[in-house]
């Protein structure tokens, strides 16, 4: 498991491999933007059709928890950036600590999200036959909550996958698989993590804040 594992057979050298894997992640993120883009489009269309109902419904979200979660995610982006920096400098301990911190913060985010979801469940705000919404625009509020769960659910799924990726990277880092010369997986994992953060930066104001007085 020496140098042959760091450069795959189809590549000429490490530089080419790095170019390819970095570009690959960027292209993948483009597809992710398009996927979330479909949901954002649906959100924008319905928000403009039913602004009142969407404003009312967003009052049922806990903005404090959302804001706290935003801070948690921003913090995780910072720890991720520190992990990447350590990896570039070949500092194994820093890399591992940064990655673990990111995993912890990501898990906190998911925990808070799970708490919010269970709260919605108790309030009967889960779309479907059991959906109950006070006020006259229950149908449109259900649209809001359908989109809320679709968007935050897809985002949470990305977080779960992200935590899995970071876990793998942590194990690889602990086993000295990375060095100042070869640390591309950490950088690419970082790209993914920052992307997931950015999606939340858009989701938070759209779902929690817009239309709040």
């Amino acid at each position: 498991m020496s140098s042959s594992t760091t450069v795959a057979h189809q590549f000429d050298d490490a530089a080419q491999q790095k170019r390819a894997s970095t570009l690959g992640m960027w292209v993948f993120l483009v597809t992710e933007v398009m996927m979330f883009g479909g949901l954002f489009t649906a959100y924008v269309v319905y928000r403009s059709l039913y602004p009142e109902a969407f404003a009312q419904a967003s009052h049922h979200l806990n903005a404090e928890l959302g804001a706290a979660n935003t801070l948690v995610l921003l913090g995780s982006s910072l720890t991720m950036a520190l992990a990447v920096r350590s990896a570039q400098l070949g500092k194994r301990a820093g890399t591992v600590i940064g990655l673990i911190a990111t995993i912890v913060l990501g898990s906190v985010f998911l925990g808070v999200k799970a708490y919010e979801y269970s709260h919605k469940f108790h309030e009967n705000l889960i779309p479907g036959p059991s959906f109950v919404f006070p006020g006259s625009e229950a149908d449109h509020a259900q649209l809001f909550f359908s989109l809320y769960f679709a968007m935050t659910g897809l985002h949470a799924l990305h977080m779960v996958i992200g935590v899995g990726i970071l876990g793998t990277l942590t194990v690889m880092a602990a086993r000295k698989r990375f060095s100042a010369e070869y640390h591309n997986p950490v950088e690419i994992g970082g790209l993914y993590w920052h992307f997931v953060d950015i999606v939340w930066i858009y989701l938070f104001p759209l779902l929690y804040l817009l239309g709040r007085h």
Binding site: H9, Q10, Q16, P127, Q142, L154
Partner: protein, 536 residues
């Protein structure tokens, strides 16, 4: 049985089912795709046969209405998502891209294998949905029919298509990265074969469009599973929004099907005319133009859906604009023949057939882009005829041409030239006889997706079914002689057509590593006539 000389190639490098199912070799993955999509094509064709039999008579007497609705739905789903979209990219693109750019493999071989498994898993879900009762929404899944009214396996099919979408995304991603980062020394962008350009444009559509249709189908799925109202007007949802999201992918998807064929035609015509391509840059850039404009024309599927008049006008004018790069390609291919030294081997016959059928398909597309005319022919057999001219006359003709052209490279065997020519003629004649009458039917006013129809449409429908049986024969013949050639075909040389391109400089079939030494490119593409040294 003839024995191949003892030379290691990608086919005999390793044996056993494991060596295939766990392979990371792009050439073997291409063959896995070839087998899978051929089976899917046969399934889709079976549905088509039953549809044409039903339409022989005006009364709905061969199968029941529900069965008929499921037949045309499953014909569309299988043919589009499981045959046409992966056909040239996943089989020939996989096989040829690294060979054409002088690379040892695609950038991400594991992702490549994963894309095949993802395709298979999606396929199994869809087949399961078909076996356990089928689906009857039409391949377009229009809401609210698909979400509230249909009693068929919509959810299961949606899951299948959602999953399969990721196979296409992974393929596109792999191609883009490979073309960007793994070209051989000296192989600049404007020295790339046009096949590679076409696949680059196709990959752009795959990565930009597929996620949107995936999320749309996902929304239909959760709406059905949990009774939400995302597209249900009764709960304030907008069924037209579904159409916007759906066509945002599904119109560009047409270009996923046709662009790779256009790339194939450029390769074949130059080879058999022994000439450089006419206007290389214009053909290359027109592929990109088609990919970009293709994303801006989706609204032309909705001219009668009560969208605003001005939106309709914008979509109409852009739809006319997207016809120009296609026309440019046709003119350039035609000009390439000028002062050539033309021979007519089977791949060339398929390529010339492509030009004829694609021209008709493209020109009738103008009819549908034209607002006043589209109102009359929208959702009639005119549309059915038009998109079959593009997707079967164009894409499938290109696919057959490509299979015949690169068969010696893929298998190391030659097929019966005579039988292949017969097949090309059968397909061309059968295709026109099947689908040209449908243009007339459409203008007469026969709506599509009709199980039974008024008597006056029968004569043309009988013509169409007759043509379909000739067309079917045209498809079955290659299946026989190509399979036969695997065992009994004469051995192919490295370059049986004396074609230009890096893939022809390596033995047939190529070794696992593709090239003994990384090739260095010093010339533009299509430097016909070849120098003696290059003709192996």
């Amino acid at each position: 049985m003839e024995t191949a000389p003892k030379r290691t190639n990608y086919l005999n490098a390793d044996y056993g089912i494991r060596s295939w199912l766990l392979t990371l070799d792009h050439k073997r993955i291409g063959i896995l795709y070839l087998i899978s999509i051929t089976l899917m094509f046969l399934l889709g064709s079976l549905f088509a046969v039953l549809i044409r039999l039903e339409l022989l008579t005006p009364a709905g007497d061969f199968v029941q209405a529900d069965t008929y609705n499921k037949l045309f739905t499953m014909h569309g789903i299988v043919m589009i998502f499981f045959f046409l979209v992966p056909s040239i990219p996943a089989v020939l693109g996989n096989f040829l891209l690294p060979l054409m750019i002088g690379a040892r493999d695609l950038a991400f071989p594991r992702l490549n294998l994963m894309s095949w498994y993802v395709y298979m898993v999606g396929g199994i879900f869809t087949l399961w949905a078909i076996i356990t009762g089928g689906v009857d929404t039409g391949w377009t899944f229009y809401t609210p029919y698909s979400t509230t009214a249909s009693h068929s396996n919509v959810l299961m099919t949606a899951v299948g298509i959602f999953i399969t979408g990721f196979s296409s995304i992974l393929t596109g991603l792999n191609f883009i990265v490979t073309i960007h980062t793994m070209r051989a020394p000296g192989l600049t962008w404007f020295r790339l074969p046009l096949f590679v350009w076409a696949h680059y444009a196709t990959s752009l559509i795959m990565i930009l469009g597929t996620p949107v249709v995936a999320i749309t189908i996902f929304l239909v799925g959760i709406e059905r599973a949990f009774g939400l109202g995302i597209f249900d007007p009764a709960l304030g949802g907008d069924p037209i929004l579904f159409q916007h999201l759906f066509w945002f992918y599904s119109h560009p998807a047409v270009y996923i099907m046709i662009l790779p064929s256009m790339g194939v035609i450029s390769e074949i015509i130059t080879c058999f005319a022994r000439k450089r391509i006419f206007g290389y840059e214009f053909i290359a850039v027109s592929s990109l133009a088609i990919a970009v404009f293709g994303f801006l024309v989706w609204g032309h599927h909705m001219f009668t859906s009560s969208q605003s008049v001005y939106a309709a006008m914008i979509f109409s004018i852009l739809s006319f604009a997207v016809a120009i790069p296609s026309a440019v390609k046709v003119f350039n291919w035609t000009a390439t023949l000028y002062k050539g030294s033309i021979s007519f081997e089977a791949p060339m016959l398929f390529a010339m057939g492509f030009i004829g059928l694609f021209t008709i398909g493209g020109l009738t597309g103008l009819f549908l882009a034209s607002l006043g005319l589209d109102v009359h022919v929208h959702d009639t057999y005119f549309v059915v005829a038009h998109f079959h001219y593009i997707m079967v006359g164009g894409a499938l003709m290109g696919y057959l041409g490509a299979i015949h052209f690169w068969w010696p490279k893929m298998t190391g065997r030659m097929y019966s030239e005579w039988a292949a020519k017969v097949s090309a003629v059968l397909v061309f004649v059968g295709f026109n006889l099947t689908f040209f009458p449908q243009f007339v039917l459409g203008y007469l006013g026969m709506p599509r997706r009709y199980h039974a129809y008024p008597d006056e449409f029968q004569v043309l429908n009988v013509m169409s079914t007759t043509g379909a049986s000739i067309l079917g024969l045209g498809y079955l013949v290659p299946l026989c002689y190509l399979t036969w050639s695997l065992w009994r075909g004469p051995l192919a040389s490295a370059n049986p057509w004396k074609a230009a391109g890096l893939e022809w400089t390596t033995p047939s079939p190529p070794p696992t590593e593709n090239f003994e030494t990384t090739p260095v490119v010093e010339e533009e593409a299509y430097t016909y006539p070849l120098k003696e040294a290059e003709v192996v």
